[in-house]
Symmetry: C2
Subunit: 149 residues, 2 copies
């Protein structure tokens, strides 16, 4: 599994905020209840989003979180990267300038690089707005049966 619950829940939280924090802040307790997820676990996840500059937060009573930008200005790629660290499908492709020692002669490396590119390309092309508004055509593309009807 490439994307763990951390990344999945992070996206769920972002979508929830996009839908529900239109004016003012929304508390984590509200999100957890709406999405039926553990509030304590979400706490650690939303903390990453907050520190990564994705959110604005307000402490104290009536506090909570809201998006720092417009939903159309977040790519899914950057949201997932923040919580997952990397989205590379294998750990042998270059990360932070460090490449595998066998890279020069490895027959399989171009495959993994290509796969990585395809994934990044897909996730960078979809915004939080697309997910929030249910843009099936963009998300499912040619695989979508309902998109024609």
């Amino acid at each position: 599994m490439m994307v763990s619950t951390k990344g999945r829940y992070a996206l769920t939280v972002m979508v929830d905020l996009a839908k529900n924090a239109v004016d003012g802040y929304v508390s984590l307790a509200d999100i957890a209840e709406r999405e039926n997820l553990s509030m304590k676990y979400l706490e650690s996840i939303i903390s990453m989003l907050n520190k990564g500059g994705m959110l604005e937060s307000l402490r104290g009573k009536n506090g909570g979180y809201k998006l720092a930008r417009d939903p159309s200005e977040y790519t899914i790629n950057e949201i997932l990267l923040l919580t997952e660290g990397t989205l590379a499908p294998v750990n042998c492709i270059m990360q932070e300038g460090v490449e595998c020692e066998k890279a020069a002669t490895c027959s399989t490396l171009p495959l993994w690089a290509g796969l990585d590119g395809v994934i990044e390309n897909y996730l960078s092309g979809i915004t939080l707005e697309d997910v929030m508004s249910g843009n099936r055509k963009k998300m499912l593309g040619e695989y979508c049966q309902k998109c024609d009807s």
Copy 2:
């Protein structure tokens, strides 16, 4: 990480066999030495490939393995599926007919389904022959700088 060493080594073994087992069988010891991988570990991996019908094996002295078909008749998708079990990027998408209970109302599901489709589409479009022969254009596609020159 979506693809573990199991899948990566499985592909490495397949490529090695495609290159070296052109006539007759090749022993696991030879493969392990050539690829600089633990023979004992490879043993468990090649066993999956063998049971999955990807290989033909011969026991006893001068035995070993060879491909069951022509390299052009294996997709990377089926090789990886055999060792990894699944290539789904998240565990909330439908597997073996079992779908998430929240599927009907989940905003993020189409995204994961789309991502899954993109991955499967890519890996199904590339054959063992492509990897073996270093078909960079097919593997790297638009991301390949060297492909033009």
